[in-house]
Amino acid sequence: MTNMIGKPVKRVEDKRFISGKGRYTDDIVLPGMLHAHIIRSHYAHAKILGIDTDQAEKMEGVVAIFTGKDIAEAGINGVPCGWQVDFKNGETMKEPPHPLLVAAKARYMGDAVAVVIAESKALAKDAAEMVMVDYEPLDAIVDAAMAVEDGAPLVHEDIPGNMAFDWELGDREKTNQTMAKAHHTTTLEFVNQRLIPNAIEPRCAIGDYDSTNDKYTLYTSSQNPHLIRLLMCAFVLGIPEHKVRVVSPDVGGGFGSKIFHYTEEALMTWCSKQLGKPIKWTAERSESFMTDCHGRDHVTKAQMGFDENGKIIGLRVKTFANLGAYLSTFAPCVPTYLHGTLLQGLYTTTAIHVDVTGVFTHTTPVDAYRGAGRPEATYLLERLIDKAALEMKVDPAALRFKNFIPPFDGINEPGFQTEVALQYDSGNYAPVLKRAMEMVDYEALREEQASGRNNGKLIGIGISTYIEACGIAPSAVVGSLGARAGLYESAQVRVQPTGKVSVYVGSHAHGQGHETTFAQIVADKFGIAMEDVEIVHGDSESVAFGMGTYGSRSLAVGGSAIMKGIEKVLEKGAKIAAHKLEASENDLEFAEGKWTVKGTDKSISFGDVALTAYVPHNYPEGLEPGMDFASFYDPANFTYPFGAHIAVVEVDKETGKVDLKRFIACDDVGNVINPMIVDGQIHGGVAQGIGQALFEGAIYDESGQLVNGSYMDYTMPRADDLPLFETDRTVTPCPHNPLGVKGAGEAGTIGSAPAVVNAVMDALAPFGIKDLEMPLTPEKVWNAIHNNQ
């Protein structure tokens, strides 16, 4: 059906999920399947002196136990890193091996030491209790800034100072000179705390080796099945890629944490070959806490310089980024190319320099978590500008308006060249903030705040504006920045003989609603019903290739690949239609699902053309039969969504509790295909950002123990912690992709955390409090109030 784009179409995937018929990896049961339990180090840093498996091996139902020694003897490489960021002096990034099971040393709490495989999950766990691992505990280091100091324990003996890389971007000299001339300088030192993604579905992997044809199948809860296949085959197990099928069925949330190639995927695949049986491993929640890659964890000092008119002239940033014990798949790019490059923000700052040191510690590996680098950049900028407004005694909204980059559409006006490599595609920044202020009734709220203060009521209003680089990413650009992969996307549009359409996409949906959004595009462009379109994803046997879903890329890059396929179908269809209608192609128009000879009632339907393509009796000479097109789309640039968020809080002086009264999000994600789904993405993202601001944070003790590694201890927002969100949009289309879309998956997370923190700081301003670290727990807020009275 035409006119499907822009409509809040109900999701087609919902039927199975609300009926209990979703098919997640752990739901899969294969004949003869065995179960794995992984023995993990409970020390953050320890020598493994020996492993005694004798007793465990004799237990009933135990099939095999493998240790790090077995993996080393089999000559299996560790899991690779997919992004290279070198040292400033040109030295190559330090890239220690990350073995599937460690043999000599554990480097974080949760490092895998051995795997027990048994006939049931319970038996495997029982037997694991009987495996005796002899550890010699060693001193650990968990803080990134401290890990580079002399004498800090080394995570890898051959990596001095625990430094993986050091990196800079921008003009250091120009920035220093500019900052020296600043009329006002605002400084912020902070920790952007470590977060644990906590998709509600724990990770799961099933290895299934089939000796009859020497083929492997890996079922894995991944956002990125095709890349997992490539990495595992080519870099870890050394098995031919065409002998491996990777399936990621329904996946219960990812938020970044399921992008990466995890050791368990290769371990289950390898073990299955050894035993000739399918083997399943499902993480327990405590394992998810310890081994799903964490996010953020930056220790940062930043300075923003202003001229006498309140214009931002300079920004200087030094960050120590905690990478954990090993380099996860995309870890090096997160604090560098996804963080440093966003430090222009929405502002006309003319001199920027950022220096980032990537550091190993005895902690869980850190990689992309919803927003990935961009929330850290936004937090830095938006806290700085708010703090500056407070110091300079100006309204924080007015200070932002003064500094916004003027509008540019990227077509008639060129893109905006930042001081930090990126060129923004299109932007019109003032309207999102104006609209958000209108929604919250900013002036009235300021008055309410003032009168509240007189009555002891601590109301706070916090603004945050943001920009993000999404639609990841142009392959040549990211290649030049160290990516060891291209970041295009693939789609195959197959029109069946009956005119039904199957679309095989390299994107992977794990909550984003691709089966609906993509089908809307196809139904709209072909003028057919939604139910005549099927979106297929997540299986390397049916989908040619793909780069997966992350970085708000599926619609901007994957959707564009589908558009290419659609164009090819329509082009070929027009040839067939012209032949059948005995008209010239130029005289045809396609609308409402049929080709019509302009100015006549002569027409042929999409379905009839499809059938003709497969039954080509009366057919254009020289034209191939069939209607099936594979396309790859490599974007010309990143996309740059932006927006303004406003949080309204009330702080209880007696308890320190922050009550989030209202949350307003006005975002610009370019054109919108399904506004219902986009709003849902914003809601979820906002909730995660609020989680960082108020509740969440991984806590390690000095010995490297993750002390809040369970849902009993790690606080995430629950239903009664949040208000209904108020959302709206402006639309500034992306000028360089066919749908004009920019991406919506991460926007909420990026904008929300600083808005909430700014609101709390605003509420606490009467006490002279300027800075508190996230999460703003009641204890922290109460202490700040009572220590400042």
Binding site: K10, D14, I18, S19, G22, R285, R718, F725
Partner: protein, 161 residues
């Protein structure tokens, strides 16, 4: 060692022999293959495993299968009336109350008990009732809307009856 249990699941009588340590959720998932009930944690914190046991919402990871002996269990698979969705299921679809769908069965079963006890809950009451269920995708916004939708619809149905 195994113990016999006799119970009704989604209206069907079942008799099985289970290990005494087998949790109800694994009995449902692995013995009965009712995989709509999910396991999201090991501390009874997330609510992905909520089912009805004799009409009460229970986290099935907190109960042993042998404790359910003699009970009537309703899981997400038993909620729809044939092809006709339960109003709460319909509410989740109509209001986009789910994204990845993993927490959804537990959310729906929890909502079912809420609306049985309080057919006309306000927003705060809905949020309070969902306090034992984590959702990482929706920010709960549309979950609340879905339950409001269902409450309205169920009231209408009662009125028409």
């Amino acid at each position: 060692m195994v113990s016999p249990i006799h119970l009704k699941v989604n209206g069907q009588p079942r008799s099985d022999e289970v290990e005494p340590r087998l949790l109800l959720v694994y009995y449902l998932r692995e013995v009965l293959n009712l995989t709509g009930t999910h396991v999201g944690c090991d501390t009874s914190s997330c609510g992905a495993c909520v089912v009805l046991v004799d009409g009460k919402a229970v986290k099935s990871c907190t109960m042993l299968a042998v404790q359910a002996d003699g009970s009537e269990i309703t899981t997400i698979e038993g909620l729809a009336n044939g092809s006709e969705l339960h109003p709460i299921q319909e509410g989740f679809k109509e209001q986009h109350g789910l994204q990845c769908g993993f927490c959804t069965p537990g959310m729906i079963m929890t909502a079912l008990q809420l609306l049985e006890r309080n057919p006309d809950p306000n927003e705060a009451e809905i949020r309070e009732a969902l306090d034992g269920n984590y959702c990482r995708c929706t920010g709960y916004h549309n979950v609340v809307k879905a339950i409001q939708y269902a409450a309205k619809k169920m009231k209408k149905e009662v009125f028409h009856d």
